[in-house]
Amino acid sequence: MKLLNYTSRYFAWLLFFVLTGWAVIFYFQMLDEIYDSMDDGLENQKMLVIDNLRDLDSVRLKSDFRDGYYTLNSISEYSAKGFKDTYRDTLMYMKNEKDYEPVRLLESVFKKDEKYYKVKVITSMVEEDDLIEDLLFSIIWLYVGLILSIIILNNLILKKVWNPFYNLIDDLGNFKIERDSEIQLQESRIEEFNMLNENIENLINKSVRSYRSQKQFIENASHELQTPLAISINKLELLLEEDDLQEQQATRIVSVIENLERLSRFNQSLSLLSKIENKQFPEVEIVDINHLTHRILESFDDFLRHKKIKIELNEIEQLQFSINPDLAQILLTNLIKNAIIHNSDSGSIEISISNNKWEITNPGEIAIKAKDLFSRFQSVQDNSQSSGLGLAISKAIADVYNIHISYNFDNRHVFSLNFPLHN
């Protein structure tokens, strides 16, 4: 839930309770005030009626309200004794409304010529149900109006206030430490945002520093390892050429060379990986992927023939992509090599190329657990010759050019490259 909606929701609930409470209090207060003024009016009318009657010589009794707003009945002295003016609500048939409507009634007793009379004065009264209904509607309108204003206020003003915050979130979302992207922090008038900016800046700087030093370390380490490895391999090669060497010694030397070469290859892969991630291959040209695939397959030809692996190349369409040619070759070579190495003798490999997809399939019994397949050091099968970096390198190259690399298992291993349409 968005921050704005979150606060709006609380406002809505709070307003609901406040307005409901307020409406109840308002209703009773207003009612009280209405009764008060009505009763005052009745009192006044009563006094007018009584004064009027006292002035008359003879009193004509009136038993209903048919021609006026009061009735007059004579009562016994006994009933009159101790009678106090009383106000009450009652119902009366209203001709205009054709219904019984509530009226306010004042009963009072007065004495004229030793006779007691009871006078009832009425006045039409607020219809409470109508009042409540009206009030309810007003309240609802008020509520809706308030909520709307809050939403508008939130969206206009708060959005503006929170703008730097949302920008920051966007920036953070787009920030990629390996891409050397920078975050443009906006100076804000709001202290909290400035604090947030400051802390984020520190955090990012710290992460970038440690990321760089880590990367630097890998680069330096692989660079520094290269020379001693080369020297050792060459020394052993020279040693191998010595004449008085026995076969057993020679095979041991060869075994050492092989292991050093493995280390050296691994090291080269590692430094290649850093170089790709550092984007140190800026030259880009349009590479014909079909042609490149042919070329790579040709270079593996002897190897494939030796392993009796059949290649089925299915070129549905031409695929061209602008990419660094060396990286394109490494990308495809690694995937093809992967399919060759993890294949059985007399197995088969299927490659299909369409205008935005390159796919390689090789037989396999069980799916590779794909989760970390493309991360470093994931040697899927126990293959001592594999550095475990081949797929990581492919992934790194694919990432640089927004190519989507994926693995699927459908009774066969399927590695696909989905090329972005616009490149």
């Binding site: 290269q226 080369a230 270079s299 002897d302 030796h306 490494i330 090599k337």
Partner: protein
């Protein structure tokens, strides 16, 4: 033939020197830019092996120096693998070849030999070994008994082994040279064997007086029979 190796890594220098001396070259060395420039200024060499990263400067300066002084030494740049910049810059500044560290000694030997051949025979790139004559320009090889019909791989293998005559060439050096370095050690290079077998058969057909010996199953050696 005089070769100058400019390399600051002592052991590396020693290895290169040993390998080239064995091949019968006169080898001199320099381990920094200063001494390299003074040597290049005074003497003429047939070939210079040049490391780009020197303690007191860049090997590129030597290329500039050679150019300015109209010196025609063949230069092979020796540099860390994958430094594409070095390769492009070096070849643009007049270097003749580029070899990436780490390399096999056989590879170094082949490169030096190829460079010297190109320079000294000006185009006609003939390699004679026994009664066999290999023309790397025209990609042909023949004896007086006829021409060999070789595919590209077989021709490359033959040339490489011939350049490293009497020296042990390991399978990995051979594979890297002929098939490219991405082939790795996949399958222990068993696939090389069938190529060698064909090559031997074809050498026999033209009665070449050389033979390719397998050495302890680790590599091959081409010798005169």
């Amino acid at each position: 033939m005089k070769i100058l190796i400019i390399e600051d890594e002592k052991d590396m220098l020693q290895n290169m020197q040993d390998t080239l001396v064995k091949q019968g070259y006169i080898v001199e060395s320099a381990s920094d830019l200063d001494s390299a420039i003074s040597k290049v200024g005074v003497y003429d060499y047939d070939c210079i092996l040049l490391d780009i990263n020197l303690p007191d400067g860049s090997g590129m300066d030597i290329l500039d120096f050679l150019k300015k002084n109209d010196k025609t030494e063949g230069v092979i740049i020796v540099s860390a693998r994958n430094s594409l910049d070095d390769r492009i810059r070096g070849l643009n500044t007049g270097a003749d070849d580029y070899i990436a560290k780490p390399f096999h000694m056989a590879e170094l030997n082949a490169r030096v030999k190829a460079l010297l051949r190109r320079k000294n025979f000006e185009g006609s790139d003939l390699l004679k070994i026994g009664n066999l004559c290999i023309d790397s320009e025209k990609h042909t090889s023949a004896t007086q008994h006829g021409e060999m019909e070789l595919n590209r791989k077989e021709f490359d293998i033959l040339t490489y082994l011939a350049t490293n005559q009497d020296r042990l060439v390991s399978k990995s050096a051979l594979a890297e040279h002929v098939w490219g370095d991405h082939i790795d050690q996949a399958d222990n290079f068993e696939f090389i064997y069938s190529q060698i077998k064909n090559l031997r058969k074809k050498l026999k057909e033209v009665k070449a007086d050389i033979e390719i010996k397998a050495v302890y199953g680790i590599g091959y050696k081409l010798t005169l029979s």
